[in-house]
Amino acid sequence: MSTRQPNGQLDLMQGTLDLLILQTLAVGRAHGHAIACSIERRSEDVLQVGHGSLYPALQRLLKLGLIVAEDGISENNRKARFYRLTAKGRRQLFAEASKWQRFSNAMARILAPAMEENS
């Protein structure tokens, strides 16, 4: 509503970030920092998540009831806020993931000849 887009960051599509968060939480609960690192690591640093942009997304997912937040103790014995997938979130993750897979396959088939020509 009232703030400008931060410039120079790789903007992830909103839905994509949501999906990545859900995927990260599928293996168990995690706090914000862990989620950010996990996304970075698993995408082999291709997807640079602006750590700041994680929080509006988490807020969105909380509101949709796909995840819940709880206080806990981190691996280095610090108090932190942990996020966990709900049953609804899990269903949503599978639905989205398969949709994304189909889309990704379709895109790959469409782009394949062009890439061959270029290379």
Partner: protein
């Protein structure tokens, strides 16, 4: 609020933890401590921005922002009290006027009348002329009403009524009151129950029963619950009160007050007890019937009804009951609402101008906020919040103002104009006013917001400097134009009033007192009435200090007039359709008492009464219409006999001889009405067997000329009546001059309101002009200082300001005059003796505007002249 603080802190803590974790990771990766923290922060991005965007997800951020904006606005506004005060006053005036007018329009014109299903109620009427005695020109004959009732299917009730005034005798004495004779189903059709006793029943037509209004019950019967069964004497007959109507019910066409309702009882000749053959008709159509269907069916039935040929050819009209009640008020009220809206526009332009001025001083603040990341939308929100806040304060104060105005109008005119007693400021109007205020606040912030947009877009700043002073100038021009419209319209009304006051009356009301009397029993023998009236006439003549007295059935501007409009034959002229004249019955001293000028021939003489021939005077309009180029003296006039008329249908058969010509005099109660052809007949020469003598014996109207003070004349007359004719009841006694001036009351009220709006508009415009100029001088201080340092004089510096004022005013005057012409055209039906485009009024309005704007420019001009070049240069 709402735990926001806690959630916000939680979020910020979480983010801090996040950054700490990242720092830790960086340290583990081998970065030095301070670098690690910095890198972590960099990676995270803008913490506050993230927090804000996260909180957007909570959904209530806008509310939080709003609360913050409101707090900020309050602080900001209280820091500039004079600015805020001017702004609030401006908006209070504008919104107050509009709210008051909206409340009046809504109460009078929009809210349905307080009757069940008012949308089904209509008046059935015809505007075609009728013959014979009708209570109103809109009335339909009883036989037609009967046929409609019998043969039409669209209506669930058709009822009729006639209004008259009669002496009503209670146990405590006689007083003249309005009496309404109604068909027994009138109240059933309207849907009005009685609050005491019982309503009329269908078999009441022949019974001597009466209903009374709540006011009559309170005034004349002391609000006694035992008043049911009380006896009233009206027209020599006893009537028993059987019921009291509820408070707040106003009979059709009245504004309340004491009224007695009697059932209409028809005689064998189709006339009722008061010799009236027709009645005004109110009907209620059935569910599912449209007003057009109802009209078409009524017309079909009417054409096939009996009655006279002329009656069958009348074209029926049907209008909603609401139009019958408020028909005359609709156009003036809408016009006044228009004027109030113009005023609001002016106030709105003022507010926008004040804003623009203030925005300039707030530009640094806006730039800083913009630099810190506030989007244009956010800045706009702050501005709009501030403006709407001020507008709402204005609306609240305006609502207070409107409550006062509406209450004052209700008290002053509640009994005078229909439904003015129902005036209220309804919640709906307040809601509308709030919406208007919000709209005004929003519109007023558009111009400053655009300004901010331009200025915060870096590059354009320098180029926009020349443009920035244009908007205020244009807004002032708009104000001047609108003010011009209101001033010209008030000017036209002033000219109308002056023209009306200058109208040649044709009679001299100074020193004349009019007295209207009614015999307690209007049905009494006409010969007896005439004897009493003559006796009184001579008694009055002999009172000390009385110069002359006349009987006159049609005293101009009297509340009670007996009008006779007769088709007229003039010897030596072929009768044409539309040859008719008004007849007024007067006595010997008419010319002397009235002060009317005798142009040729002679006035009445006592000998005329016994000569057998009927001597008459005619007026100039009569001579022009009927006797063009002929010597009027000695001309013979007769009532025209239409084919099929019997002798008894004519007022009388005897020929009338013109003995003199008098000047035209204003008739009726409207100074603006055109002169009508008049015939003045000596009342005492009226053949006693004429049905006119029956009609005229129901009342006696005297005009008395005297040099004594009004109060003395009044008490002398009252004493004489009491002594000489105790059965005569006084209906009105008042100085004629007062009646003449009262006739202008409605126009005066309209003038007062429009002129009031004009004055407010003028004040607002002056404030607007002053504001813009003062601001311009403040901005140009430096420039003026440099000019002076380079050799300009104080006079020229002041001239600079005055020239700017002149440009703005002239820029507004041109479209203003065009718009004033359109407005004048729109109100031309209220005008008299002045055209819609009146040069003098335009010039006067223009001059007033110029003078006021010069005065408004005076202080800024002086300030410009006092700019000290040394000070300016030092500041450089």
């Amino acid at each position: 609020m709402f735990g926001w603080q806690r959630r916000r802190k939680q979020l910020l803590d979480e983010i801090e933890t996040h950054i700490e974790f990242e720092t830790q990771r960086n340290i583990e990766a081998g970065m030095p401590n301070d670098q690690a923290a910095q890198a972590a922060r960099k990676k995270f991005g803008n913490v506050l921005l993230t927090a804000e965007r996260t909180r957007e997800g909570w959904g209530a951020l806008w509310l939080e922002n709003l609360v913050r904006d409101v707090r900020y606005a309050v602080r900001n506004l209280s820091a500039a009290p004079s600015y805020t005060a001017v702004l609030v006053c401006t908006l209070t005036l504008g919104l107050g006027c509009v709210t008051a007018m909206l409340a009046i329009v809504q109460s009078v014109l929009l809210l349905p009348v307080n009757l069940p299903h008012p949308e089904q109620l209509v008046q059935i009427y015809s505007t075609d002329q009728t013959q014979g005695f009708a209570a109103s020109p809109h009335a339909l004959s009883y036989s037609a009403i009967d046929t409609l009732r019998r043969d039409s299917r669209s209506f669930s009730g058709i009822s009729g009524y006639n209004m008259m005034v009669r002496p009503v005798v209670t146990a405590e004495g006689a007083r003249i009151e309005p009496v309404m004779e109604v068909t027994s189903n009138l109240f059933q059709t309207l849907g009005v129950p009685v609050k005491l006793g019982r309503p009329f029943r269908s078999d009441d037509a022949k019974a001597s029963v009466a209903l009374i209004s709540d006011e009559f019950w309170r005034d004349r019967l002391h609000g006694d619950p035992g008043a049911i069964g009380a006896a009233l004497t009206i027209s020599g007959k006893q009537w028993t009160v059987v019921g009291v109507l509820p408070r707040g019910f106003h009979a059709p066409g009245t504004t309340g007050g004491p009224i007695v309702y009697l059932p209409i009882s028809l005689g064998p000749t189709g006339e009722d007890e008061f010799q009236i053959e027709s009645a005004a008709v109110i009907a209620r159509f059935k569910d599912g019937v449209s007003i057009e269907q109802a009209r078409d069916e009524a017309q079909t039935v009417f054409v096939h009804a009996g009655g006279t040929d002329a009656e069958r050819h009348r074209v029926l009209k049907v209008r909603p009951y609401m139009d019958l009640v408020t028909g005359d008020e609709q156009r003036p009220l809408w016009a006044l609402l228009g004027a109030a809206l113009v005023l609001l526009l002016i106030a709105c332009a003022n507010a926008a101008n004040l804003q623009i001025g203030r925005t300039t001083s707030r530009m640094p603040e806006m730039e800083v906020r913009s630099a810190l990341g506030a989007g244009f939308g956010r800045l706009m929100q702050q501005l709009v919040t501030e403006n709407v806040l001020v507008s709402l304060v204005g609306a609240a104060l305006g609502a207070g103002l409107s409550f006062i105005v509406v209450a004052t109008v209700r008290r002053a005119y509640g009994g005078e104009y229909p439904r003015f007693d129902e005036l209220r400021v309804h919640p709906l109007v307040l809601c509308a006013a709030c919406l208007l205020a919000a709209a005004v606040g929003f519109i007023a912030s558009v111009a400053p917001a655009l300004r901010i947009r331009r200025e915060t877009r870096g590059r354009l700043t320098t180029r926009s400097t020349t443009r920035k002073s244009r908007a205020p100038g244009l807004l002032v021009a708009l104000q001047v134009a609108l003010t011009c419209v209101l001033l010209v319209t008030s000017g036209l009304f002033v000219r109308t009033l002056i023209s009306l006051e200058d109208v040649k009356l044709g009679f001299d009301p100074r020193g004349v007192t009019t007295l209207v009397l009614m015999p307690e029993n209007p049905q009494q023998d006409p010969q007896l009435s005439r004897a009493i009236e003559t006796r009184l006439l001579h008694r009055f003549e002999n009172l000390p200090g009385i110069q002359s007295v006349t009987l006159q059935t049609r005293i101009p501007f009297s509340h009670y007039q007996v009008a006779l409009n007769g088709t007229t034959d003039v010897s030596g002229r072929q009768f044409q359709k539309g040859d008719s004249a008004h007849y007024s019955f007067v006595s010997t001293d008419f010319v002397k008492t009235s002060g009317i000028e005798l142009l040729s021939g002679r006035g009445f003489q006592p000998a005329d009464e016994s000569s057998g021939a009927i001597a008459v005077l005619v007026n100039e309009a009569f001579v022009t219409k009927f006797l063009n180029g002929r010597d009027p003296s000695g001309a013979i006039i007769r009532f025209h006999r239409n084919p099929g008329d019997k002798d008894s249908d004519l007022p009388f058969m005897q020929p009338m001889t013109v003995v003199g010509v008098v000047e035209n005099e204003v008739q009726g109660g409207d100074l603006g009405a055109p002169y009508e052809p008049m015939v003045y007949i000596d009342y005492l020469a009226l053949p006693i067997d004429s049905f006119l003598s029956q009609v005229f014996s129901m009342s006696a109207q005297y005009a008395v000329r005297s040099t004594l003070p009004e109060a003395t004349v009044a008490s002398e007359l009252r004493a004489a009546v009491k002594q000489e004719a105790p059965t005569m009841v006084e209906m009105s006694l008042e100085p004629m001059q007062e009646s003449v001036s009262e006739s202008l009351g409605q126009r005066r009220l309209a003038l007062r309101l429009v002129a009031g709006f004009g004055v407010v508009a003028l004040i607002l415009s002056a404030v607007g002009i002053y504001g813009v100029l003062a601001y311009a001088v403040a901005l140009r201080r430096r420039e003026i200082g440099i000019r002076m340092a380079l050799g300009s004089t104080r006079r020229r510096a002041a001239g600079l300001v005055v020239r700017q004022a002149g440009t703005m005013v002239l820029l507004g005057l041109i479209p203003g005059i065009a718009a004033a012409w359109v407005a004048g055209h729109a109100v031309r039906s209220f005008l008299f003796g002045v055209k819609a485009l009146d040069a003098e009024t335009l010039i006067a309005a223009g001059a007033v505007l110029l003078i006021v704007s010069t005065a408004a420019a005076f202080i800024p001009a002086i300030r410009a002249a006092q700019v000290d070049p040394v000070e300016t240069l030092r500041a450089e």
